[in-house]
Amino acid sequence: MNDPFPKGEDSDADLMARIACGEREAFRTLMDRHLPFVYRLAARVVGNLADAEDVAQEAFLRVWRHADRFQPTAAPFTAWLNRVVVNLCLDRLRKPMPLPLEAAPEADDPAPDGLARLVATDQRKLIAAAVAALPERQRVALVLCYYEEHSNAEAARMLSVTVSALESLLIRARRTLRDRLKMLAPAQGG
């Protein structure tokens, strides 16, 4: 999801200008370029793969519908798209979610280290559940800064908060995780 684009190809801003004129081929190119990132971000934030697919689809529908509103001088396309995805994820997280996480299907593991793998799998589920239980803005802040490695300033813009507020969200998220995961492993902290 970087702004630099392959040599010889249209920039994101050029593609958006063509999409604003209804060019489907430009839309497909832009979608190919950014769809994996959009889905990954959505999946990490909403935690539910079906919802992540919905968010990714809705994000690109908005790209198609609102391409004429995009102003390349105001912000790079990636920042604009990030903000769209974050807002869609927050909308989704505010709705009641009966299942916070999708459990991967498990099979019996006959290997000698199968028990260790099962323990590791259970631990991952607990960690994922702890992340999924974070308040939505804390979760988005953690995903944007930790997993997607955005700067505090970038993440703050996407969440429409100040950098100071973003730092506060991050600190609370990590503190909450540390407290919850102490039950899992007393040595963990941070």
């Binding site: 769809l35 198609w64 930790y146 700067s151 990590r174 040595a187 941070g190």
Partner: protein, 159 residues
């Protein structure tokens, strides 16, 4: 860098200094070299980082991407058909804007000019025919006459 600043950064960004603001990384390394407290904070944060890193990234494969692309294109097509044709909704909007702006640029002045000429022609023709296209207002000198011009019901009650 102070220990307080270090503690705040590590509480927000975790133990991987590469994830910290670039300007703070050098100061953090210097502090770590001389402060056991900072090193202890780093160790604790690294444990949480390890837990977070144990979560695998979402599985993204070509079948998933193809399904997503297909779904997006189908929804665009459906929206276009609901709007009354195969023209994409956004393109239709822009087409309408283009037509609208074209009228404002060229059609509207021409319409005003035509109206102006037509009014001159009517006035000229009426003058030749001895007609007064704008007769003087009817003189009203009584209250009942005034009411008769404005409200037939009230005027009726006065008559």
């Amino acid at each position: 860098m102070t220990l307080e600043r270090f503690a705040k950064l590590i509480a927000a960004r975790g133990a991987a200094l590469a994830r910290w603001p670039h300007a703070d990384q050098v100061g953090a390394r210097r502090l770590l070299a001389r402060s056991p407290e900072a090193l202890s904070l780093l160790t604790k944060a690294a444990a949480l980082d390890a837990a977070l890193d144990s979560l695998p990234p979402p599985d993204i494969n070509e079948a998933l991407l193809a399904r997503l692309r297909g779904g997006i294109e189908a929804r665009i097509d459906a929206a276009a058909e609901m709007s009354g044709g195969l023209v994409p909704e956004l393109a239709a909007r822009r087409l309408a804007q283009t037509r609208g702006s074209g009228r404002s640029r060229s059609g509207r002045p021409a319409a005003f000019a035509g109206l102006f000429l037509m009014m001159i022609a009517i006035g000229f023709a009426a003058g030749l025919a001895g007609l007064d296209p704008w007769p003087a207002p009817q003189r009203v000198t009584t209250v009942s006459g005034l009411l008769a011009l404005t409200d037939p019901i009230v005027s009726f009650s006065f008559q």
